[in-house]
């Protein structure tokens, strides 16, 4: 049972808005993201399973599926993508280990980007609306997805969140995924690009240790370069490691703290927005 509203939904992701403690929407499948609160019927797995009570000869058949396990997510991600394309919304999916600086980076680049394009943000965390509150302080529309026990965002959560956010045409949508370098890479959300962030305190062999994430990403941002004098981190080696995993990666070196390198990144994003 949900502790907040007492509904029968078990677990699953919940949408929240910072500063609106009674806003609380469960992500359910029945509505395909229409997010009707308390639509419990999707959870009604009430079939009974009467195995072998009649002791008849049973006939076995093998049925070919050849279906991608992630097909359902992929199909929904494509629907999100179609929606974004139709409205000319450019969606970026930000991925990193916990604490690499995803929210800090958004806090720094959004005020600059906002001058030219409307921006909205979807925040993914297991718990709390802390990150959404930080983004809301910038004056941009934001919604928090709390995944509960889930360790990544999926296309259904984004589909629901998008319906709750009033997205403008020709806008930029930043999606901050749950801090985790493993599975968020497997779940397409419908984004235009995946952005992976690593920080100099994490070790320059990160791309080799978590190759899937770097393989799937389009952009890699090395953050916290203001700390380079204090840590053993070989930037060239890290970049080389990242390029070995994915030679198409766009590479940036920034500090969300001092602002170093953010101009180049901002310009690159603005160019992408112009060309879309």
């Amino acid at each position: 049972m949900c502790d907040t509203c007492g509904c029968s939904t078990e677990g699953g992701a919940v949408l929240r808005k910072p500063g609106e403690s009674d806003y609380h929407v469960h992500v359910t499948e029945s509505s395909h993201g229409d997010s009707h609160h308390h639509q419990g019927d999707a959870h009604d797995h009430g079939h009974t399973h009467e195995h072998g009570h009649h002791h008849h000869e049973r006939k076995s058949r093998t049925i070919a599926l050849e279906q991608d396990v992630l097909q359902k997510n992929n199909l929904l991600a494509e629907r999100n993508r179609g929606y974004f394309e139709a409205r000319n919304i450019y969606a970026l999916n930000f991925l990193s280990s916990p604490g690499s600086g995803k929210t800090s980076l958004l806090e720094k680049i959004i005020p600059a980007l906002q001058k030219n394009v409307p921006v909205a943000v979807i925040e993914g965390d297991q718990q709390t609306t802390n990150d959404a509150e930080r983004i809301q302080a910038l004056g941009v529309p934001v919604i928090q997805i709390n995944t509960g026990s889930g360790c990544h965002l999926d296309a259904l959560m984004v589909n629901s969140a998008v319906k709750e956010l009033e997205l403008k045409d020709n806008s930029l949508l930043c999606i901050e995924n749950v801090g985790n370098l493993v599975c968020p890479a497997m779940f397409d959300l419908g984004e235009a690009l995946k952005v992976v962030i690593i920080s100099v305190t994490e070790g320059d062999d990160k791309p080799l240790k978590y190759p899937t994430m770097f393989h799937e990403a389009d952009i890699c941002i090395l953050n916290k370069i203001d700390l380079l004098p204090y840590v053993d981190f070989d930037v060239r080696q890290c970049r080389e490691n990242a390029m070995r995993v994915n030679h198409h990666l766009e590479w940036f070196e920034v500090s969300a703290k001092t602002g170093e390198g953010l101009g180049v990144l901002q310009e690159w994003i603005e160019n992408k927005l112009k060309k879309r």
Binding site: H49, A185, M186, R244
Partner: protein
């Protein structure tokens, strides 16, 4: 743990197929999980039994085929086994290697038992 959400989506997909076929239960499942797919088969099996509880797939046996990773060199075209994404061509040392096999993650087939006499 992402293996759990994946196990749940497998159960959902095969149950819906089995119902479509009018099956009484699912007795076997063939999965293909490439060595580079980023899924731990053991962990998935573990999650699967929990995910399948109370469904048509409750007693299904999970059989997992694990194709090896194969890369193809973008420079010289040679094919060779790879165990990571950052493979290097053993001939020309190029890093422009395309993965041609090992990333599969498929539900290949299911074996269903008809609902006779029920």
């Amino acid at each position: 743990m992402h293996e759990m959400s994946i196990a749940l989506s497998i159960v959902e997909a095969i149950e819906s197929k089995a119902r479509e076929e009018g099956a009484g239960s699912i007795s076997g499942i063939e999965l293909v999980i490439g060595k580079l797919a980023g899924i731990e088969p053991e962990s998935l099996k573990f999650c699967f039994s929990a995910a399948a509880k109370g469904t048509l797939a409750e007693e299904a046996l999970l059989n997992i085929e694990e194709p090896e990773g194969v890369g193809e060199c973008g420079e010289c075209g040679r094919r060779f086994p790879v165990s990571f994404y950052y493979a290097e061509c053993p001939d020309c040392r190029s890093l422009r290697v395309k993965i041609v096999s090992g990333e599969e993650f498929l539900i290949q087939s299911i074996t269903i038992e008809d609902q006779e006499g029920e």
